[in-house]
């Protein structure tokens, strides 16, 4: 039977409110008599907090409260993976911007004045801004347990033999920069205590249940005394996984028993939020004369800044993905996340994989060039297929679409090539054109950890169907996709399903909106819940129709026996049959993809139960005079398992390409310097090429209708494809991003000089 809802370009849930301007983000919530919150932040990068003097601020008229670490009722400690961050600094500050005191005042102006009246005595300590310095044996410890947060090793085969057998070895060091998510909506939220005294937070977030879990010990309240509700969220990209305004809102509402609101300015958002880890990657790759990869060795250092956040995940993900989607029998990787006094780094679309892809894809092109193979042929010679074994020893059993993606982009690659070759001026008239290819793989979900999702569905006597999910839609479209999956499973029109989402009181934990996991994991949980409902209703319908249950079908909200389609009963009638007033039919779904933890010494294990694959080709023009790289065309082929909503999948691809262009060509966050979009440039419509998205569907047997994920994969191949195209255009390899004007001008003048 053909799918009716899954696979369709249905309009997103909530889109009408977004185009009319009626959608309410956290900063738009009206809340009477709310106090305004502001944070006093550390002006020094590393220091010991001696004294925080708040008396003057507290005495100002209109100031309702000024809080320091001493006022926190519970534990002054949080962190999504390892707990190392304080809500308000008690002993130490570790970066410029570390929160020290919290002000609650009647107005914005008074809150500002109060901040100015706070004095903090902080004794500066030597600050470290380079992971190499932080790893030095005599380096001052930023955290008590030392400056190396985490080390991940992946070892497989015999690395020495692998290199000894190689005919060609390439070794290079690559560097990426600290990046800012730059979601358009700055962090914001409101909080109040309801009639029962429960603290209610309405906040922009990617994971209300994790927010809740982190806030409960800070407030030291029973879990049911705190409720976190996700508001409409203006983008996240990983930056709204960590708590930001949440502890301040919760604390002030709890202690003052008054409604409070907090909205970060753009400057504060830049200063206080997590960043993308800059990585330094040394990579050595060996291949045979015939073009088979034989060995890959890599040492990765990630600067996690002042706090751990998702640093452990980034160290692990970059190590696990370091070969790229290729068979490499001998692998040795060591990957470290290191503390410094820079801005803290956390999750950002791809968790280290966009960075490592720059290394493995540059290596691939270097090898291909030396071997005299075109980049697609070389990749195809090595790409994974069913039965391949990954560097962690996992046998890939299904849904391995990498070869398909390469084959699909090949004609575009050839066309772009021919265009350049047929037109010599495209090489030499001051603007040189080039074409580049890159591929990627990406494990869906958390790495080597259980990451279940759950969902519930209910049908009442009127046939109203409600889906409950804890999954936060941050703009990527999970609401729509989850409802599509539920509707398809039940045989109902899409519009008939009501959605209740991302509220810790009304919904159960669906895990984070991260790691491209919601379609796959929460989608499957929703499918399971819907199947349960379907089973119950089908049996009821079978009774009413007087046919065996396996003969009953439901389409467009009507049950019928498959051999007598004229005998129809509407969905709501079936639902009502036998239900007493107030009774509901319930279905529950849980899905936890199969993973195992990774061996600490060798990294062997099953980090993910499925992977997405992609390949991309980009045509670029490099202006030799200005150094400007312009991306002219991009074709991006993604194996998503199944596109539940092709328009959403394409939207993710366009989005990822844009972020990848920013990452590859101009984005760079300078700690303590970058304060606005004036210096942190993100792509505008003028920076974007026309993009051709290609959707490939190699079904994943454990995914809902075969679906995997695409949110992060969309970004990953972009920067490496551009860098490879720059090489094609100029004959020069770029080893660090961004490939901005100066970098390119320098590269070209080096070439002319030597």
């Amino acid at each position: 039977m053909k799918n009716r809802v899954v696979g369709e370009r249905v309009a997103r849930i909530g889109i009408r409110d977004k185009v009319t301007g009626h959608a309410r983000y956290a900063a738009d919530l009206e809340i009477k008599n709310a106090l305004v919150l502001k944070v006093f932040r550390s002006p020094v990068a590393h220091g010991r907090v001696k004294k925080v003097m708040t008396e003057k601020a507290a005495a100002l008229e209109g100031v309702a409260g000024v809080f320091t670490a001493a006022d926190i009722p519970g534990e002054n400690l949080y962190g999504i993976i390892n707990r190392d961050q304080t809500v308000l600094a008690s002993e130490k500050v570790r970066f410029v911007g570390d929160p020290v005191a919290l002000v609650a005042a009647e107005t914005e102006e008074i809150a500002e004045a109060a901040l100015k009246a706070i004095e903090a005595e902080i004794t500066p300590l030597p600050a470290l801004f380079d992971p190499a310095d932080a790893m030095a044996p005599d380096a001052p410890a930023i955290h008590e347990k030392g400056n190396i947060l985490f080390t991940r090793k992946v070892a497989r085969g015999d690395i020495e033999k692998g290199f000894a057998d190689s005919d060609l070895i390439i070794e290079e060091t690559y560097e990426t920069r600290m990046l800012e998510h730059a979601y358009l909506e700055p962090e914001a939220g409101v909080a109040y205590r309801d009639e029962t005294g429960c603290v209610v937070l309405l906040v922009t977030t990617q994971n209300p249940h994790a927010d809740h879990a982190q806030l409960v010990p800070i407030l030291n309240v029973a879990p049911d005394r705190l409720r976190v509700i996700q508001t409409e969220t203006g983008g996240g990209f990983g930056g709204k996984l960590d708590i930001s305004v949440q502890p301040f809102l919760a604390l002030a509402a709890y202690l003052l028993k008054r409604p409070v609101r907090m909205v970060y300015s753009r400057e504060e958002s830049f200063m206080a939020s997590a960043k993308r880890h800059p990585l330094k990657i040394r990579m050595k790759t060996g291949a045979s004369r015939e073009g088979k990869l034989l060995a890959m060795e890599s040492e990765i250092t990630a600067d996690t800044g002042a706090y751990g956040s998702y640093g452990i995940a980034v160290a692990t993900r970059s190590a696990v993905h370091a070969t790229g989607p290729y068979n490499v029998p001998n692998v040795s990787v060591i990957s470290r996340a290191v503390y410094t006094n820079n801005n803290w780094c956390g999750a950002m679309r791809g968790f280290g994989v966009p960075q490592i892809a720059i290394a493995h894809e540059s290596q691939m092109d270097k090898l291909a060039q030396r071997l005299g193979l075109d980049p697609i042929t070389f990749r195809l010679k090595n790409a994974f297929e069913n039965g391949s074994v990954t560097p962690t020893g996992q046998r890939l059993e299904a849904s391995v679409g990498i070869r398909e993606t390469l084959k699909k982009i090949r004609p575009y690659y050839q066309t772009f090539r021919k265009e350049i070759e047929a037109n010599p001026s495209r090489r030499y008239d001051g603007v040189r054109h080039g074409v580049g290819v890159a591929s990627m793989w990406y494990g869906i979900g958390n790495t080597g950890h259980p990451n279940p999702s759950s969902a519930q569905m209910e049908v009442d006597r009127d046939g109203v169907v409600t889906l409950y999910t804890g999954a936060a839609d941050i703009g990527q479209g999970s609401d729509t996709v989850l409802v599509q999956i539920a509707a398809e499973t039940l045989g109902l029109p899409y519009e008939r399903i009501r959605l209740v989402r991302a509220d810790t009181t009304l919904t159960t934990d669906a895990g984070a909106t991260s790691a491209s996991r919601q379609t796959y994991i929460s989608g499957r949980a929703v499918q399971e819940a819907a199947l349960e409902i379907k089973r119950i209703l089908t049996e009821k319908a079978a009774g009413l129709l007087k046919v065996p249950a396996n003969m009953v079908a439901c389409e467009d909200g009507v049950f019928f026996p498959q051999f007598r389609e004229f005998q129809k009963i509407p969905f709501e009638e079936v639902a009502r049959a036998g239900l007493k007033k107030g009774e509901k039919i319930r279905g529950e779904g849980v899905f936890n993809p199969e993973t195992t933890s990774l061996d600490p010494e060798t990294g062997q294990g099953t980090p993910y139960s499925t992977y997405a694959y992609a390949s991309q080709v980009s045509l670029v023009a490099v202006d030799e005079v200005t150094g400007q790289v312009t991306v002219k065309r991009t074709v991006s082929a993604h194996d998503v398992g199944k596109a539940v909503n092709p328009a959403n999948v394409e939207g993710q691809i366009f989005s990822g390409v844009a972020m990848g262009i920013g990452m590859g060509l101009f984005e760079q966050f300078y700690p303590n310097k970058t304060k606005s979009f004036d210096t942190y440039l993100i792509p505008t419509a003028m920076d974007m090429p026309e993009i051709t998205p290609i959707i490939i569907e190699v079904p994943e047997p454990t995914g809902p209708f075969g679906a995997k994920g695409v949110g992060e994969p969309a970004l990953i191949p972009t920067a490496p494809a551009i860098l490879n195209a720059v090489h094609d255009a100029t004959g020069r390899w770029v080893h660090q991003i961004p490939a901005d004007l100066e970098t390119i001008r320098e590269l070209i003048s080096e070439q002319e000089g030597g």
Binding site: I15, R16, V19, T20, G21, Y25, P186, G475, A647, A685
Partner: protein
């Protein structure tokens, strides 16, 4: 000028906002954005940066787009202003709004009102822009979610429909 309750200088301004006349006493240092959002409840103009760099607060003032966060309220005295709320009567959507829905040109939606207003101002001035001109026309509006392509498609759809209707 006179002084408001908190002692700051205020000024009475009158504007036509979405076809309705509005008279308000506003502190002289308030921005048009805060008057729209806080006093008039027109929250469709979003604050993404507050310093004129993102376009999320775009409104049309006397036929031209402005970043409302950069306009001091007194400057808007006597002005005619269209915000996103003025584009549809709640029942019928503006063709641009329809097209944004059809093309899936919206993800988080934070940039959307500003984007639609920039598109409107562009089409008011140039009803048949090329794709490149469309890109130029919205280049002051940042979007971190969509990569702009479906937005350009949506605006082009309106252009094509208008041309078909004329033919």
């Amino acid at each position: 000028m006179k002084n408001g309750v908190l002692g700051e200088e205020t000024l009475t301004i009158s504007m036509m906002v979405n076809g309705e006349s509005v008279v308000r006493d506003v502190p002289v240092n308030r921005t048009l954005l805060s008057v729209l959002r806080e006093d008039l409840g027109l929250i469709g103009a979003r604050e993404g940066c507050g310093v004129g760099e993102c376009g999320a607060c775009t409104v049309i003032m006397n036929g031209k787009t402005v970043n409302a966060c950069m306009v001091l309220a007194p400057k808007a005295d006597g002005a005619t202003i269209t915000t996103i709320e003025g584009l549809s009567d709640g029942e019928h959507l503006h063709p641009l709004q329809e097209a944004f829905i059809e093309e899936g040109a919206v993800q988080c939606g934070f940039c959307t009102p500003g984007m639609i207003l920039s598109a409107k101002a562009l089409l008011d001035e140039n009803p048949s822009p090329t794709r490149l001109e469309i890109r130029e026309g919205i280049s002051g509006n940042l979007c971190r979610c969509t990569g702009y392509q479906q937005i350009v498609d949506a605006i082009e759809l309106v252009v094509n429909r208008t041309e078909e209707a004329k033919a």
